[in-house]
Symmetry: C2
Subunit: 169 residues, 2 copies
DNA sequence: ATTGAAATCGGTTCGGC
DNA sequence: GCCGAACCGATTTCAAT
């Protein structure tokens, strides 16, 4: 039940997704070899995964220090009593140094991840965050090192369909 | 190791990087059109960016709920007095639900992002985290919604290199 | 470091199963 | 839905600059 109705995805789709998460530039021919289908079959499946919103894009991953972004921080954002979350989120989205923005449970409305070149820029960025309308306080956690980031993470190894069950699928 | 690559990177490299961050499956021919070089020149530049560690990989981005990962949480991890950070980080790396792991300043040694299917699994995952040798406490922040995540974030708006167009664009 | 040409290989469409 | 063939465009190598 947990797997059956996830957008009509089968085990092969999940294999393809895992392969594309590991290597976003894998060719259809490669993927076909990995999953045991022809390139054209994979092509069609990937197209459907893309247009159904399961795969939302493909991105190169860059070493941040190599592009001059050596400072990372996690910032909790506490709104004022009357602050509007959507308004704050929109303002956060305007700042290019804010890479990710999560609305969270707790007395902070958001936790954002920001990346800047220097601690000087971090200070300036925090000033910009605090100046956003509706923001009362920020709480900053400086990242000392990134041990790992954005790993694939399969939900579970794979559901072994030990006994085929035809009932009401 | 010092990142000597900032010295070796020019504006065209930054353009290529930005383009590949936006679309990790862009063809070399496409990239060449965007930056005003031939496909083979782009091919060589990208190869160097990859082997020098500036571009570390390419990944498909997947809508987490679509693959059965509907619950995200940020967890601060406080070690015991004698806990060894590297050992803890290694143990965190063994858990597939831990997507990212940052060593941070403050009384927590790490902040990790975890993704699981259900709150039930979240509870089990937190149990695993607490059972890691050297971990004293965890502090969990549940993500209610992801406003945005992993945006490109160029350090500079990318200066246009004034490429003369040959065929009336 | 870039180009353009040449050869290989993959992407994409389509007819058929 | 998948395959295989065919066509076309992209990748990749390379000599020359």
């Amino acid at each position: 039940m947990r797997y059956a109705t996830l957008g009509g995805m089968d085990a092969v789709d999940r294999q393809i997704i895992a392969a594309l998460r590991a290597n976003g530039r894998a060719t259809y021919a490669d993927l076909g070899r990995q999953v045991g289908l022809s390139a054209s079959a994979v092509h069609e499946r990937v197209g459907k995964l893309e247009s159904s919103g399961v795969i939302t894009g493909y991105h190169a991953v860059v070493d941040p220090p190599s592009v001059g972004l050596g400072v990372t921080a996690l910032v909790g954002i506490q709104p004022t009593d009357t602050g509007d979350d959507d308004e704050i989120a929109a303002a956060l989205g305007e700042l290019p140094e804010v890479e990710s923005c999560y609305a969270v449970a707790g007395d902070e409305a958001f936790v954002v991840k920001i990346r800047v070149a220097t601690v000087d820029e971090l200070e300036r960025s925090l000033g910009r965050l605090r100046r956003i309308h509706g923001v009362a306080r920020t709480r900053t956690t400086v990242v000392l090192s990134t041990r790992f980031e954005g790993r694939p993470n399969a939900p579970e190894p794979a559901p072994p369909p030990a006994v085929p069950d035809k009932s009401g699928a």
